[in-house]
Structure formats: C-alpha cells, structure tokens
C-alpha cells in the first residue's frame, strides 16, 4: 500500500501540522488513539474523504429513477455508478422539474399587475371583450 501522503488526494494534508490534523479529525468525529502520528492521521482523513455518502447515493436513485428502495441493495456498485453517471443526461437534477417540488412553476404567479396598480375598468372591459369573439 502506498504511503498515506502519496495517495490520491492525501498530499493536501502533507503540509498540515499535527495539531491541525488532530483538530480536523475531531471536527469530523474521526476517532484516533493517542499517541498518534502524522502519517496515521493523514490516513484517517484520506479514508474519511473517500467514504461514500450512501444517503446521497440512495437519494439520487430514489428521486431520479423508479428503482424501489429494497431493490437498490440488489444492485452492484458498478451498476449504481453507471446509473448515477448518466442521470444528468436525462434529468436536470439541480434545476428540478418545473411544477414538481421546487420547480419554477411551483411559485405562485404574481397577482399584482406589472405596474403594481389594480386594472382600470377600461382594461377589464377590454379583457372581457376579448372572449366575445370566441362564441
């Protein structure tokens, strides 16, 4: 196994002081045993950086596919990776679908007129007359 500071993404911790590393571990609730060494703390932080957030994975699949919750566990990591990598191609995850849960159409339309004043009677009459030609 490569030394902790040679691993992908671990080099960012190599210049940190041991106190900073300890503080970061404490902040992230990473348990470490005293006395510790820098190498060990970097390894713990690196592992923490690479731990997947399964709640996020499940949420992606539940919100953007029709896979039932129980079925997700029957899939493999490469399958889940493949599905998640293609999600953005079909659904704008961050934008959302208009009209559904936070999309643009969920905001109620403004009730006031563009000028901020109530319509005049002549404007109201013109609006009603517009329907006369329909019948």
């Amino acid at each position: 196994m490569a030394p902790a500071d040679k691993k992908d993404g671990a080099e960012k911790y190599s210049n940190w002081e041991i106190d900073e590393l300890r503080k970061e571990c404490t902040k992230r609730n990473i348990k470490f045993i005293e006395p510790d060494n820098k190498e060990e703390l970097i390894k713990l932080l690196w592992q923490n950086d690479h731990t997947p957030d399964w709640a996020e994975v499940y949420t992606d699949l539940l919100c953007h596919t029709s896979i039932p919750y129980e079925e997700i566990a029957n899939r493999t990591i490469p399958q889940i990776d493949a599905i998640r990598s293609k999600l953005g191609k079909n659904i704008a995850i961050k934008i959302g679908i208009p009209g559904i849960f936070g999309g643009a159409l969920d905001n109620p339309p403004s009730t006031s007129s563009p000028t901020g004043k109530p319509p005049k009677l002549s404007e109201f009459a013109a609006f009603c007359n517009a329907f006369n030609s329909i019948s």
Partner: protein, 108 residues
C-alpha cells in the same frame, strides 16, 4: 467521477451484473460482482485477497471462503462452487487468489 468517465460506455455485462469468467486448471468459471447488501458482510469477514494461505489455515476462514465461492462463483454448468469443489477441480492457492481478485475488481 470525471465527465470523461461519465460519458464512457458501460458494458451490458456490467448493467446485468452478469460477471466475468476466469480460468483455473483448464476450466472456466464465472464470477459475479457483490451486491450492495453483501458488501458490509464481505468487508467484515476480513479475508485476505492476497496470499490465500491465511484464508485456508483455520476452519473459520475456510468456511467464509466457501461462503463467498458459493455466493458468487459458478462453474461451467452454472452450478455454485464450494471450497471442496474447487479443491476437487484442482485449484491451488493462486487460483483462489485470482477468484478473490476478480471478485473485488468486479465489485468496484
């Protein structure tokens, strides 16, 4: 995942979870990737994926090896493998190591 990786085509075999084949002593075996529900159990079993001597030296780990062979490896007839069956087929520790390597590679 980078944009390039996201655009890379994914094989049908991956999406079906069909697994891949490997050869041992002239026979072909199929190894399937581990499903999410078994990942934790596999990690907890703490089996060596390098030298198989450590896995075969005590009864407890031998049972675990047999369990993973039985769950994710099939022979040419599609029948699930066991450690005994692997030994009958003449597997050595390198073949067993190849099985575990393949299992880990496929499972992500």
């Amino acid at each position: 995942m980078s944009k390039q990786e996201a655009n890379a085509p994914v094989s049908l075999s991956t999406m079906l979870g069909a697994g891949e084949t490997f050869e041992a002593k002239g026979k072909t075996y199929t190894v399937k990737p581990i499903t999410l529900k078994h990942i934790e159990e596999f990690m907890a079993d703490n089996l060596s994926i390098g030298s198989q001597l450590f896995n075969l030296t005590n009864t407890e780990t031998k049972v675990k090896v047999s369990k993973w062979l039985g769950g994710y490896c099939t022979d040419e007839k599609g029948e699930l493998m066991t450690l005994e069956k692997a030994m009958d087929d003449g597997w050595d520790i390198v073949d067993l190591k190849n099985f575990f390597r393949k299992l880990c590679d496929l499972s992500g």
